[in-house]
């Protein structure tokens, strides 16, 4: 049964693609063997379903009339230029990149789409006869349950609904962003009437598709300002630290060495964003880091360590 369906759909595609002009439905019924033997009602239903299936696969079936022959009867066609992948050429280094790209997605559905895109490249005359880059294993995973629905919504330009911060939202997805292993969605939140950024891991419950495909257009530079919110805050202050030689490299790598040294201690000037995580960053250095100035920062780090000892029931 599946074989007969595939056969009919491929033959319909070829018939529409090779016709010089619009072809009427009745003519297609004659041309495509898979339609023979169906009564009118079944043929009509089958033909509509076939068109939908092909369009969903990206086959551009156009409707129109050829004035000369059937003034009042609609016909169908596929323009070759709309159907065919334009010529592509890739050098050996580029083919190696493409072959490596086949292994990147860990999500079955997207991995399949990637494979299908690649087979189109190979069908276009590019030979995948080059080994993948053995020394590179980039993987992208998306473990967040919300991910697949949001990806589908984004490709189809459909609205989604979900709960975030205990509030029901209706959102037009603009961009999915993967940063440091977590996925974010930037989009227009209809409920709030403003663009918003959502962390997928914090979406509560299910995400549902709603409304029709193609319900909105992507902005030209989608959500640039929103995504800038994911960047680290810019430094607006400088601290003077004493750090034991060779310790706390996560601090010293973004600091500048100051000439004066005392034994195993080196002095560093560290630019930091106030209101950021500088206290946590310094505290992680334990006894290898001391804050010389500013006094408020020195006090904050001291309070941080005192609270740790107090919480875990140890007297300082």
């Amino acid at each position: 049964m599946e074989r007969r369906t595939s056969e009919r759909l491929v033959n319909l595609t070829i018939a529409l693609l090779t016709a010089r002009t619009f072809t009427s439905k009745d003519r297609l019924r004659d041309l495509v063997e898979g339609y023979h033997g169906l009564n009118n009602e079944n043929f009509d239903r089958q033909f509509e379903r076939d068109k939908d299936t092909l369009r969903a696969l990206g086959v551009p079936i156009e409707t129109g009339t050829d004035e000369r022959y059937f003034a009042d009867e609609p016909g169908y066609r596929i323009r070759r230029d709309d159907f065919e992948l334009p010529p592509l050429s890739f050098g050996p280094a580029e083919v190696a990149v493409l072959v490596t790209a086949a292994q990147v997605w860990q999500q079955a559905s997207v991995a399949e789409s990637t494979t299908r895109a690649l087979t189109k490249v190979w069908a276009s005359g590019v030979e995948p006869d080059i080994d993948r880059l053995g020394a590179l294993r980039p993987h992208i995973s998306a473990r967040e349950p919300a991910w697949q629905t949001l990806w589908d919504a984004l490709q189809a330009r459909r609205y989604v609904t979900f709960t975030y911060h205990n509030m029901a939202r209706r959102v037009a997805p603009f961009v999915l962003a993967y940063r440091h292993g977590a996925w974010y969605l930037a989009g227009f939140d209809d409920t709030r009437g403003a663009p918003r950024l959502f962390k997928l891991g914090r979406i509560q419950g299910e995400v549902s598709l709603t409304g029709e495909p193609g319900a909105y257009e992507l902005p030209a530079t989608p959500a640039t300002e929103l995504l800038a919110g994911l960047e680290e805050a810019q430094p607006d202050a400088t601290a003077l630290l004493a750090v034991r030689s060779g310790r706390a490299p996560w601090l010293t790598r973004r600091a500048e060495l100051v000439a004066q040294a005392e034994g195993e201690w080196r002095r560093w000037q560290l630019p930091y964003a106030s209101g950021g995580a500088v206290v946590d960053d310094i505290a992680m250095g334990g006894a290898d880091v001391r804050v010389i100035e500013p006094a408020e920062l020195a006090e904050a780090v001291k309070a941080h360590h005192q609270a740790l000892l107090a919480n875990l029931g140890v007297t300082p």
């Binding site: 599946e2 595939s6 056969e7 491929v10 033959n11 070829i14 018939a15 090779t18 299936t53 092909l54 696969l57 086959v59 709309d82 159907f83 065919e84 992948l85 280094a93 580029e94 190696a96 990149v97 790209a101 789409s113 990637t114 087979t119 189109k120 069908a123 053995g134 590179l136 294993r137 980039p138 993987h139 992208i140 490709q155 961009v175 999915l176 993967y178 940063r179 440091h180 292993g181 977590a182 992507l218 995504l227 996560w250 790598r253 946590d280 505290a283 250095g285 334990g286 006894a287 290898d288 880091v289 780090v301 001291k302 309070a303 941080h304 360590h305 609270a307 740790l308 875990l312 300082p316």
Partner: protein
């Protein structure tokens, strides 16, 4: 109605076969990521397809016996010469995958990846609705490591590892670069440990060639250096403000506490890592089990306060 995936494939398979005079069934199966049996099934459908008219010359011709018995495909009379255009989903999936390669690649390979992205984006004709950012460290380090891997050379890393909270200079035989959970890792044989280790690329401050060739240590284990096979765990009760720990680390378990806090069970691959995390979380930690897991962190905090006097 499950014919759609097969139809999508057939519309690609016809021009694919048209480009290749003779091709192995096994090769087609590998390129399309399907079983050889499925390839033969596809061919059986194709011989019933062709130009409308129903005359023998109108149909696609494939010697099915040759395909079944010799595993070789030869097609004639193709009505399709070019594959169908990319759907948006296909184009985005492939471009993002190539971006992931570019993010971890070194010099010439990164350039090749960018050129592929440019060509594919040109076909798509709209902005890419997906952004990738992989913590992959500096270009210099990546180029040097790429060169060392290609030529089989040993390197000395300057590594700012979080586990020891200090800089170390391990000598390693580098093998490959992996991306896991949004960060790139160098997988290498560490000479001093006599074992495989992963080093986060963004914590490698420098990599210099030692002038020695790297030795062959066989293939590294999959996901080496990850937390997955660690038997030890520590349980931390945290304030709600520290709930990010459960998203950021591969925790074994997360339980909500009645007042909004969370309890997380963390695998402890390296006690130094846990000490750093506890010092960092400070006031946001309420309880650690077993208490001994916090001993080093508490000693550090006490030593810090002692230095102030």
């Amino acid at each position: 109605m499950t014919a759609a995936p097969q139809v999508a494939r057939l519309l690609i398979l016809v021009p694919y076969l048209q480009q290749r005079e003779y091709v192995d069934v096994a090769e087609v199966a590998a390129d399309f990521n399907i079983k050889p049996r499925q390839v033969l099934d596809d061919l059986q459908v194709l011989v019933m397809c062709g130009l409308p008219g129903g005359l023998p010359d109108d149909l696609i011709e494939i010697d099915l016996d040759l395909a079944r018995e010799e595993g070789l495909i030869h097609m004639r009379n193709s009505p399709l010469t070019r594959p169908l255009r990319f759907t948006r989903d296909e184009a985005v999936s492939l471009i993002v995958a190539v971006e992931a390669v570019r993010e971890v690649a070194d010099g010439p390979t990164a350039q090749a990846a960018q050129s592929v992205i440019d060509k594919l984006s040109g076909l798509m004709g709209e902005a890419l609705p997906v952004r990738l950012e992989v913590a992959a460290g500096g270009d210099d380090v990546r180029d040097r490591l790429g060169e060392a891997i290609d030529q089989g050379l040993q390197v000395r890393l300057t590594y700012d590892g979080l586990a020891r909270r200090g800089t170390t200079t391990p000598v390693v035989d580098p093998t490959r670069v992996e991306v896991r959970d949004g960060a790139s890792y160098l997988v290498a044989w560490a000479l001093d440990r006599g074992d495989w280790r992963s080093y986060r690329l963004d914590r490698i401050a420098d990599a210099e060639l030692t002038g020695q060739p790297a030795k062959d240590h066989g293939a590294p284990p999959v996901a080496s250096g990850s937390f997955e096979d660690t038997p030890d765990t520590a349980t931390l009760d945290l304030d709600a403000s520290a709930a990010w720990v459960a998203e950021y680390y591969p925790v074994r378990g997360v339980t909500a506490l009645p007042d909004g806090g969370v309890q997380v069970v963390l695998p402890v691959a390296d006690p130094g890592f846990l000490t750093g995390l506890i010092l960092r979380l400070g006031p946001q930690i309420r309880f650690v089990d077993p208490p001994s897991a916090a001993a080093d962190a508490l000693a550090e905090a006490r030593a810090f306060l002692g230095q102030l006097d």
